[in-house]
């Protein structure tokens, strides 16, 4: 069997363990909370008999381990159960929410990379100069801002006081409206990431620009823009790896942005699920997020391998029997 198939199989096996672990943790943690299986906004006048009847109908009387096993078995068949709060199959809700979240995350990532790389590259031109220091300061500020606060301030500034963006955000409109709806939430979600990308890019470029091969290129009279491009390519590896880490953060971090901007994505679904003590919905969003994390991580590895030949070299499989 080729080594890459073995590695892929092991990664898939590890993915199953990671997802099952995350789901088990979510299941037993939520199940242990007071009032588990009952809506937190239940009417207290609804008597014990009725509550017990509903628990029996929804199979909540069984021990937690049995319910967990039943849920896992059904999940392998694609049946993620029924959302107690939304009264819809969880898989339907996830399907509807995945596209808006991916759209938001992709737009935010594109903004992060475009703005972050531009700022980082600019700062790397004169390390230690006032532009470098200013951009460094901006990067730290952006990285430190709480997303919830940024979202509310952005809403106040750009929707209420200076209405350049629409007050209604919807993912189900035509391309023009969609872009206008998407711009502000994506910018807010990207804000912290821009600072990080700028720092990554600046540090990598400064290091690359000090290499001997860069001096050699300059000595040969290659124009500075080409030298810069080469330096960026040489320093892009860690950035790609960072994107692999950032993508899951964007998906899970989208929760706050989705809630504030009423964006109908996975984050809002998870938020509603937790507030509504909706165990199937929380498990479904956990599973979806865990899968997205794994897929993003694999995707980053593949992209990294595609742009950096050193990564493609056959290496010893660290898990291979010795």
């Amino acid at each position: 069997m080729p080594p890459w198939i073995r590695i892929l199989a092991r990664r898939a096996g590890a993915a199953v363990v990671v997802v099952a672990g995350a789901l088990s943790l979510a299941f037993f943690a939520l199940d242990a909370l007071p009032g588990a299986g009952e809506r937190p906004d239940r009417d207290p006048r609804v008597g014990l008999e009725q509550r017990q009847r509903l628990r029996a109908i929804y199979g909540l009387d069984d021990p937690a381990w049995r319910r967990a096993a039943r849920w896992m078995a059904a999940a392998t068949r694609g049946d993620l159960g029924l959302s107690l709060s939304r009264q819809r199959p969880v898989s339907d809700l996830l399907r509807a929410a995945a596209a808006p979240t991916l759209m938001l995350a992709a737009a935010a990532l594109a903004l992060e990379l475009a703005a972050g790389v531009a700022l980082g590259g600019w700062a790397a031109r004169r390390p230690g100069g006032w532009i470098d220091r200013l951009i460094g300061w901006i990067a730290v500020v952006l990285y430190s801002l709480p997303t919830f606060w940024v979202a509310l301030v952005a809403l106040l500034a750009f929707v209420v006081e200076w209405p350049v963006f629409p007050a209604s955000f919807a993912a189900d409109r035509g391309p023009g409206d969609l872009l206008r709806s998407l711009a502000l939430p994506a910018a807010v979600l990207a804000a912290t990431g821009i600072g990080a990308v700028a720092r990554f890019t600046r540090d990598g470029m400064v290091e690359a620009l000090e290499q001997d091969w860069v001096r050699a290129e300059r000595a040969r009279g290659i124009v500075e823009s080409v030298v810069f491009r080469h330096a960026f390519q040489a320093s892009a590896g860690p950035l790609v790896q960072w994107v692999g880490i950032e993508l899951p953060r964007l998906v899970s971090g989208a929760l706050v942005v989705e809630v504030v901007f009423a964006w109908p994505g996975l984050g809002r679904l998870a938020y509603d699920g937790v507030l509504g003590r909706d165990l199937p919905l929380v498990l479904g969003t956990t599973a979806a997020t865990a899968l997205l994390v794994l897929v993003a991580s694999w995707g980053a590895d593949l992209v990294h391998a595609a742009i950096d030949p050193r990564v493609r070299r056959p290496v010893a499989d660290p898990w291979a029997p010795r």
């Binding site: 909370l33 007071p34 009032g35 588990a36 009952e38 809506r39 937190p40 906004d41 239940r42 009417d43 207290p44 006048r45 609804v46 008597g47 014990l48 008999e49 009725q50 009847r53 509903l54 109908i57 929804y58 029924l82 709060s85 939304r86 009264q87 819809r88 199959p89 339907d92 979202a151 509310l152 809403l155 106040l156 929707v159 209420v160 209405p163 629409p166 007050a167 209604s168 919807a170 809630v259 504030v260 901007f261 009423a262 109908p264 809002r268 938020y271 509603d272 507030l275 509504g276 003590r277």
Partner: protein
């Protein structure tokens, strides 16, 4: 149309998003608007205009169109039911008359799908006559069979409707004629009319295809088999599109009167309240709920939105654990009540948009005891009363030394739910006031389910809560000793006399006698103080300045949504 039995805030104001939960008031003033607004409401200047789509902010898109499956205080269920379905009669907000539950004449119930009701002499049967020519939105006739089948669904154990208990006195519903339904009762009570009318009429021809035993297994089925009797129906015909956009139902029974005025209503989910309010001020919505009193001036000054202030049925109070010493002594509870400056709470938290409460029967209810008055705030007297009960200042100097008895300090912890900042603030103020009379009071905010668990287990000293009583004024769940084991008698209050009075009130058929019974209940509660009743709040919603016809009241903010109209399109 309904007696607000299930609106979110009926009972505990524990809705996660709305700390100031909905309310219900027995006698409603119309929603008031502050003076000096730029623009004001279009109601005064213009006549209703036909057309346009109103955008309503909701915490989440309601996804269940079948109210029997929707769950107790499911958020935003009220709006979807009022959009899509009609009841036999429409309960009116002004129910100050004791006869309100016993007559369809104003101010109790107005005809809706039904045009009349006739009671037998013994009041054990009621003959309801439907309007002729009623149809569902798909053109199928709406008949008495729908009414009978709705009752079957409401009471079927497999459907397990949360409010099936409301129908327990109805033993049969017959449909001798397509426009005549006869309700048979087990006994005559004051609340028969409300019991009969509770719930919307469901479409038998469309929904009986799914057996009752499958309803809980396939809750999503109903949205894709939806037909409506209300003023609107989903704009998208696709399956599962219950939330979102709604268009005018041309077959609505009030269509001949030009209703609804609006072409459509769009519910737009905005789960985060602060962001929702900002967007309301930016003109994103025509209606949004739950404006905090502190933000009232901002809406008064807005050129886009205007505040609507209206009374509720909600009462905020502290539940004392009467099984835990020293709160098992009524005199201690009374002293604590006197140590709390409730008027100051009203001023600080509500800017005057609330009233000091006396008991759970709000000040405008028909059976409110006119002799009842709040215990006066008198911290000096409160401290004296505690000292008379054997509490003495701990060693040291100063008037505010904590009190103790038999070596035990007068220590109490106030619990409240973390979802309500307003109640958390109130708890902090109350604790500070109680410390001034010598109690070592502290506050702990917990998540609502943990709070409910503490209440159920009796693991608390005092809990700051809010609740609202429906128009039945049935206090058994809160104060009857039979409700300690299974009910919401969380204070564990047990008074044989109060039990008897509550039972007699429930069996009474004469409104005047019932009123006197409830007066005596209130006197007992006022004396024993199982709760310290704090305040009755007003509720503040916001409407756009182009929205006319909005008449939010204690029954529902969406009351007669078919009469809403827009002065201009967006």
């Amino acid at each position: 149309m309904r007696r607000a039995l299930r609106s979110p805030g009926l009972r505990l104001a524990i809705s996660l998003a709305g700390a100031l939960a909905v309310a219900h008031a027995a006698a409603c003033r119309p929603a008031s608007q502050s003076s000096g607004q730029p623009g004001g409401s279009p109601d005064a200047a213009q006549r209703p205009r036909r057309g346009g789509t109103a955008v309503v902010a909701v915490a989440a898109h309601p996804t269940q169109v079948n109210e029997l499956l929707a769950g107790g205080a499911a958020p935003d269920q009220d709006v979807i039911q009022r959009l899509l379905f009609a009841s036999l009669f429409e309960e009116q907000p002004a129910t100050a008359s004791p006869a309100a539950d016993r007559s369809i004449a104003p101010p109790g119930f107005q005809p809706a799908l039904a045009e009349s009701i006739a009671w037998s002499a013994d009041r054990l049967s009621a003959t309801v006559r439907l309007r002729p020519g009623l149809t569902w939105s798909d053109g199928a006739p709406l008949t008495a069979e729908d009414v009978r089948w709705t009752w079957l669904a409401q009471t079927d154990p497999a459907v397990a409707w949360d409010y099936a208990f409301v129908k327990e006195d109805i033993v049969a519903v017959e449909a001798p004629h397509p426009t005549v339904a006869v309700f048979r009762f087990r006994r005559a009570t004051l609340g028969q009319m409300a019991d009969l009318n509770e719930g919307v009429v469901l479409p038998r021809h469309a929904w009986s295809a799914l057996p009752f035993t499958e309803w809980r297994r396939q809750p999503e089925w109903f949205a894709s088999h939806l037909v409506a009797s209300g003023p609107f129906l989903p704009a998208a015909a696709g399956p599962g599109d219950a939330g979102g956009s709604f268009r005018r139902n041309e077959r609505y029974f009030r269509a001949a009167q030009g209703l609804p005025h609006l072409d459509g209503v769009r519910l737009e989910a905005a789960p985060e309240r602060a962001a929702q309010r900002l967007r309301m001020l930016a003109g994103a919505f025509d209606y949004a709920e739950f404006i905090p009193p502190a933000e009232l001036p901002r809406f008064e000054e807005s050129a886009v939105a205007r505040p609507l202030v209206y009374p509720t049925r909600q009462v905020n109070f502290i539940v004392w654990n009467t099984r835990r010493p020293p709160f098992d002594e009524p005199a201690v509870r009374r002293a604590l009540t006197r140590g709390i400056d409730r008027q100051a709470l009203v001023e600080a938290l509500y800017r005057g948009h609330a009233r000091v409460a006396v008991t759970s029967i709000i000040s405008t209810a028909w059976a409110r005891d006119p002799a009842g008055a709040p215990w006066p705030h008198d911290p000096a007297a409160a401290r004296r009363e505690l000292e008379a009960l054997g509490f003495a200042p701990a060693p040291g100097n100063g008037d505010s030394r904590p009190l103790a008895r038999d070596g035990r300090p007068l220590r109490l912890e106030l619990l409240t739910n973390s979802e309500s900042q307003l109640r958390a603030d109130a708890a902090a103020l109350v604790a500070e006031q109680l410390r001034r009379i010598g109690a070592e009071a502290s506050v702990r905010t917990v998540e609502i389910s943990a709070l409910m668990a503490a209440l159920d287990a009796g693991a608390f000293d005092g809990v700051l809560l809010a609740a609202a009583l429906d128009t039945s004024l049935d206090l058994r769940a809160e104060f009857h000793s039979a409700s300690i084991a299974d009910g919401t008698n969380w204070s564990r209050y047990a008074s044989p006399e109060t039990d008897r009075l509550l039972d007699e009130f429930q069996a009474a058929t004469d409104p005047d006698a019932a009123r006197l019974l409830l007066h005596r209940v209130q006197a007992n509660l006022h004396r024993d103080q199982p709760y310290t009743w704090l305040w009755e709040p007003d509720r503040i919603d916001a409407a756009s300045r182009r929205l006319g016809g909005a008449r939010p009241n204690a029954l529902s903010p969406w009351f007669r949504i078919e009469e809403w109209w827009l002065a201009a399109d967006r």
